[in-house]
């Protein structure tokens, strides 16, 4: 029983770590590169404009899609690893 509990706690901790990492990327892509850090990226040009504009209108969406699939894939592995899957 105690083992079950510590196993579950470790699973939850791993999940929280993964969520934190993914949300940092999520925030960096949208609030960071597309808005607040855009002036810093102004020197990098892409298709007649700057990288920040690309992040705002295209890059962030692509990153969001990648993040969700990455999280789903990692969590399915965690589910198996900790024996907590369905």
């Amino acid at each position: 029983m105690a083992d079950d509990k510590s196993n579950a706690a470790a699973y939850w901790k791993a999940n929280l770590r993964l969520i934190t990492g993914c949300l940092i990327v999520w925030a960096l892509a949208s609030y960071g590169c597309a808005i607040l850090l855009r002036p810093l990226l102004a020197g990098i040009s892409i298709g007649g404009t700057d990288l920040g504009f690309w992040f705002a209108q295209q890059g962030s969406i692509l990153i969001f899609i990648g993040l969700i699939f990455f999280y789903a894939w990692k969590m399915n592995r965690l589910d198996k690893q900790f024996g907590l899957g369905e």
Binding site: G47, G48, F64, I68, A72, G85, E86
Partner: protein, 593 residues
């Protein structure tokens, strides 16, 4: 075949498919009605979420808003997609594990409080009802423009079709019609975009065309667009926004609002497993992304097309923009699509300097040296996508497709919202509070009756929009962001938040957000009752009423945390419940908890 006949064929054909699906997917139980039996494949569900989510606002209005605001409107692109990351990581898998039928039911059980459940029901109904008005109004516009019936008749036809498949099939009927509607709307959106991208950049993929060279002038498309619009006194299309705080908060409000909207969350209850809830969020964003990656391309290309239609000399390589701007087309020579849209009042022309030509420019800029006395052509943002095929001279069948696509977007979202409303009434209000001993058959009947009533109310409000139709979507996101999202998230990620904390948090977030909106937009949106003018100079710290939902959400978290920490811990069985939603194991059994 006339354009009218083509439009009737496309719209009628798509409606026949929806009705066919309704007859095939009749709901036999409350489980069918609320969660489509719980056996929907994640890819199917992803497609249904796409149609559920992409409303008349996404399909009809968004590209037009981007076209006029350029970079500044990126908020919508990021906000309405980034919310899915929050859904996939923070809510969907756990709510699926919980395994019940509605969002208020989770809040009521987790916070062991019927009051909390009722607060959630009220938030859900306000958010969903305000949102559905916009959908019905959008369907009315599409009908009146393409099918030559008046908007009221169009709305009633649309309501009858929605009634048929949602009352009969509930979530089951809605799921499979939404899949069909997604296919219709994405084809309708992308085909004209591919043609236009080819015409302007020789690149058949619009998101790539956006960052390619403009084929006539040889310059990058966006650089060309910047030159053209600045020559007319507008700021650069890609220009940075000054008020960054507001842009960040607005994006955040749209993201957490998206994640907190019950009609989207409900769709995750329809998949068999927790893992499927995670996958379907990913697939949903792929299907949504197809439109959201196309929209900014459509926006910039349509803006360029519009300007070069009025100033043909600006289309190619331009030596001197001053000369090109001096040579607009004459009003008498305007293309047919301007004529047809003038009839709807969505394009208006006023020859202010009486020279017979059309001057389209930023009316706030002073061009009296060019003999201009004001902007003469007003073009509504809402027509851009609908008029796109005509602007680009595409064949008639593309126009018919756009009509069917616009209606698919409006009706699929309306159906999802109506289901969220009717299940909150039949499951949370009637079974949860008024008559807990209602039979399965009785509840199914109650669900169908409340769905019918919701459709009648929504149609009435669509025919007589309460004057604030444009504001209501912001209200829906503000409410979802400030009340529902924080309560759901804390319910999963904290065992310490108790009933008192959750209720205090939801109410303070909700009331704070509503008051801030009303102060600038008028109390209950009644015109001229606002306390302060709705301009940036008056906003607190430059935060617009549209962005305030994110501040309300932060307040909700803070109040819930503080109240909970000075009151008692939740009982052990609630802490066990939180524990159980965190682990996918035993997903089926959660219903008996």
């Amino acid at each position: 075949m006339s354009q009218f006949a083509i439009n009737v064929l496309f719209v009628g054909g798509s409606f026949a498919v929806y009705i066919g699906i309704a007859i095939w997917a009749k709901a036999g139980s409350t489980k069918d009605f609320y969660v489509a039996g719980g056996g929907v494949h994640p890819i199917t569900n992803g497609m249904a979420i796409g149609a559920d989510w992409m409303s008349a606002a996404s399909f009809i209005s968004m590209a037009g808003i981007i076209a006029s605001a350029g970079y500044g409107a990126s908020t919508f692109l990021m906000g309405w997609t980034g919310g899915y990351v929050l859904l996939a990581l923070l809510l969907a898998p756990y709510l699926r594990k919980f395994g019940k039928f509605t969002v208020p039911e989770f809040i009521g059980d987790r916070f062991y409080s019927r009051s909390a459940r009722m607060v959630a029901v009220v938030c859900l109904i306000i958010a969903s009802l305000t949102y559905v008005i916009g959908q019905m109004a959008g369907a009315g516009v599409a009908f009146s423009r393409f099918l030559e019936v008046d908007a009221t008749t169009g709305l009633i036809i649309a309501a009858i079709v929605v009634f048929f498949y949602s009352v009969l099939g509930g979530m089951k009927g809605i799921t499979y019609t939404q899949v069909a509607q997604y296919i219709v709307l994405i084809i309708a959106y992308t085909i004209p975009a591919v043609f236009i991208s080819l015409q302007l950049t020789d690149n058949p993929i619009p998101p790539l065309g956006l960052f390619s060279d403009h084929s006539v002038s040889g310059e990058p498309l966006l650089a060309k667009l910047n030159e053209v619009v600045t020559a007319l006194g507008f700021s650069e299309y890609t220009a940075m926004v000054d008020n960054k705080l507001n842009m960040v908060l607005f994006t955040l409000s749209l993201m957490i609002g998206t994640a907190g909207l019950p009609h989207v969350i409900m769709r995750f209850f329809t998949v068999p497993k927790v893992a499927d809830a995670r996958w379907s969020a990913g697939w949903a964003l792929v299907f949504i992304g197809l439109l959201y990656l196309t929209a900014p391309a459509v926006a910039s290309m349509a803006r360029l097309n519009l300007v070069t239609t009025i100033y043909p000399d600006m289309a190619g390589q331009v030596e001197n923009y001053e000369d090109a701007a001096a040579n607009p087309i004459a009003y008498a020579d305007r293309p047919d699509w301007i004529r047809t849209w003038e009839e709807t009042g969505l394009i208006t022309f006023d020859d202010k300097n009486n020279d017979g030509n059309i001057q389209l420019y930023n009316g706030a800029a002073d061009f009296s040296d060019r003999g201009w006395q004001g902007n003469e052509l007003e073009v509504s943002n809402d027509i851009l996508v609908l008029a796109n095929p005509e602007i680009a001279n595409l064949p008639g069948w593309v126009v018919g497709l756009i009509a069917a696509g616009g209606l698919a977007a409006a009706l699929s979202t309306a159906a999802g919202l109506l289901l969220a409303i009717s299940s909150a009434i039949s499951h949370d209000l009637i079974k949860g509070a008024i008559n807990p001993r209602i039979t399965e058959r009785g509840e199914l009947r109650a669900a169908r009756i409340s769905m019918s009533v919701a459709i009648v109310v929504a149609t009435y409000l669509g025919v007589n929009p309460p004057g604030f139709a444009a504001q209501v979507v912001a209200l829906a996101f503000g409410i979802a962001a400030a009340s529902l999202f924080p309560a759901l998230m804390m319910g999963i990620f904290s065992k310490r938040i108790n009933n008192k904390g959750a209720i205090a948090g939801m109410l303070s977030g909700l009331i704070f957000t509503l008051v801030y909106i009303f102060v600038y937009k008028g109390w209950f949106f009644i015109p001229d009752t606002n306390n302060l003018p709705d301009t940036e100079a008056n906003w607190v710290m430059g935060i617009s009423p549209l962005s305030i939902g994110s501040v309300g959400a932060i307040l909700n978290f803070a109040v819930a945390y503080m109240v909970s920490s000075v009151t008692e811990e939740p009982p052990q069985e609630i802490q066990d419940l939180v524990e159980s939603v965190r682990y996918p194991k035993g997903a089926g059994a959660a219903i008996d908890h």
